[in-house]
Symmetry: C2
Amino acid sequence: MADEVKLHGLAGSPFVCRVKIALKVKDIKYDFVVEDLINKSADLVKYNPVYKKVPVLVHNGNPISESLVIVEYIDDVWKGVSILPHDAYEKARVRFWAKVVDDKCLPALFKAIGSHAQEQAVAEAHEQLQFLENELKVKGSKFFGGDSINLVDISATFIAYWVGAAEEALRITLVTKDKFPKLKEWSDNYINCQAVKDVLPPREVLVGFFKSRFGKA
Amino acid sequence: MADEVKLHGLAGSPFVCRVKIALKVKDIKYDFVVEDLINKSADLVKYNPVYKKVPVLVHNGNPISESLVIVEYIDDVWKGVSILPHDAYEKARVRFWAKVVDDKCLPALFKAIGSHAQEQAVAEAHEQLQFLENELKVKGSKFFGGDSINLVDISATFIAYWVGAAEEALRITLVTKDKFPKLKEWSDNYINCQAVKDVLPPREVLVGFFKSRFGKA
């Protein structure tokens, strides 16, 4: 029996996009089920009663929630290109950095965007992004994963692509080449990576979203 | 060469205790390095520059931070009793529930304790704990891990042991047998599990901590 793979999601969500990228890396075919977060479907609430959020991956009837948990699951189940390294210490480092992105970098960036780049909020976001900049400098590689992308790159999809759209929509500056040369170089490499480029939503959709959500009247 | 294992921590930290339990389950000998969080050691800041927090495990000179990342690392490196299941779907479920404990249950409990069991805060904590209660009911097993403990049980150490100490110290009620029969039964089973019992800090130390930190003058 062929695998039945469904991804419940939304076109513009960076968290859903993480899962799309992982599925693309592994070359997995799936059905995309569009969810409406205002009127959540009975399936979404059944599959993810705790968070009631997308993405939810349903594999042969088994639901899995939380984007990084899903990406690790995809890497566990489908062989081929690896998303996490095999070495235990490298794997722990990767999990650590993906957690830093979720715990520290994204909340700081959300706040900086929501505040229209208020000075203090931008300073806090820069403080967190500096850790990623340093990590890229130490590694000296194209991606956080080395020559190819791994869980850390995938976790940071928002930074590579969504932040630029927010800057354009709100006419603000958050991440400059001057302050974050490695992170900007990484962003360019990452969004031009085939598996990523193939699934990113059109930039104008994101610009439109940020304008309507955070734009000044 | 024998493994050199050092755990940087604090006696009363539930997050450090997670790592101690994992090391005990695997029967790993290690040196415990006591950290002072007021005057953080140069080693702690060097090993964990992002969070500057305990626990940090240093294995043959390689530092790993964040308690759940460390526990997965311990399970990856040392064979013997497994802390995560081998089946990919079961593993994803376990990672999901450990994340629910960290994202939802613990912050709600910290708030309920910090507010001296203010009604709304307790209601919010109950809402989150109800998910764990339901999960135990559905599983119908002694532990979240079935017959033996796994990552979910270890993640919920605070709920099993620290919450009771907080209730005693502050003369509040957070988790009752009436409302959470499965969770109370699990707590009893868990803290009496040998690997857990062997490393839990004395209850009076925790009662003293909660009194000094949150007690009314």
